[in-house]
Amino acid sequence: MIQGIPLEHFLVVSTIMFFIGVCGFIIRRNLITMLMAIELILNSVNINFVVFNRYLYPDQLQGQFFSLFIVGIAAAEASVAIALIINIYRNVKNIEVENVNEMKF
């Protein structure tokens, strides 16, 4: 217990944040806001890794390295996704998901 806060409180916060991200991914129709929802999901997973590392295995660093790598992968993913979004915008002139269905085979 660190500063009087039990482990479960962190897990409750990250769980609610994860499912807010899932809900946003479902109800939004804009590509950039869907990308933001994915960032929320990844961020809540990061909190979980770091908190488990800190509370359950304080003599090791596995959780911290995992979340470092997740941050790196999220950066790569965001850059490629934004390149794709800008390219779609050039071709379709907006980025609502309903208008992108001409990419279907």
């Binding site: 479960e8 899932v22 960032e39 770091v50 359950l56 003599d59 090791q60 911290q64 390295f65």
Partner: protein, 168 residues
């Protein structure tokens, strides 16, 4: 302090998926990421918090705001989502929250009793580049290749074609 940060995280993430202006959504996302960095500071992981601040709050949010400015008018507002999608999204979220929270709260975690490792830069750097026990050199190299591939892919995808018949 923890309850302040978690309140900021929950309220701003909820606002970020419900606001109708896209630029405000990006700013609320920035607030969420900053509060998360505050949580890492509270847990005494300074390096993780610094990475969160520079990469997430500094890098990704700026990238998102740039792309918003390139693809939207500032005064653009979203329409409300249609009702079936709204019900489906909220239903999935509440069912998931209920399931996961009952699982978490019924499980008892055993706190580690090992002495705390002082997390400073030399420990992190040595473990990141060592090949022995607790070494992470393989994922380090993999992620460097991944970042290079992502950089090249972003350039190639976003490049404007000058002439359709000209060779690259």
């Amino acid at each position: 302090m923890f309850y302040l940060f978690s309140g900021i995280i929950l309220i701003c993430s909820l606002l970020s998926i419900t606001t109708r202006r896209i630029l405000r959504a990006a700013v609320y996302l920035l607030c969420v990421l900053l509060a998360t960095a505050g949580l890492y500071f509270m847990l005494n992981y300074q390096f993780m918090a610094a990475v969160q601040l520079t990469l997430y709050a500094g890098g990704i949010v700026v990238l998102i705001i740039f792309s918003i400015l390139l693809t939207h008018h500032i005064s653009h507002r979203f329409q409300h989502p249609n009702l079936t999608k709204l019900i489906m999204g909220i239903g999935a979220a509440t069912v998931g929250i209920g399931l996961v929270l009952t699982t978490i709260l019924s499980h008892s975690f055993q706190a580690g009793t090992a002495p705390e490792l002082p997390v400073d830069m030399t420990v992190i750097g040595n473990q990141l580049l060592s090949t022995g026990k607790n070494g992470y050199v393989l994922p380090f190299e993999l992620i460097s290749i991944l970042l290079l591939a992502a950089m090249i892919a972003a350039i190639v995808v976003a490049k404007k074609e000058k002439n359709k018949n000209s060779e690259i």
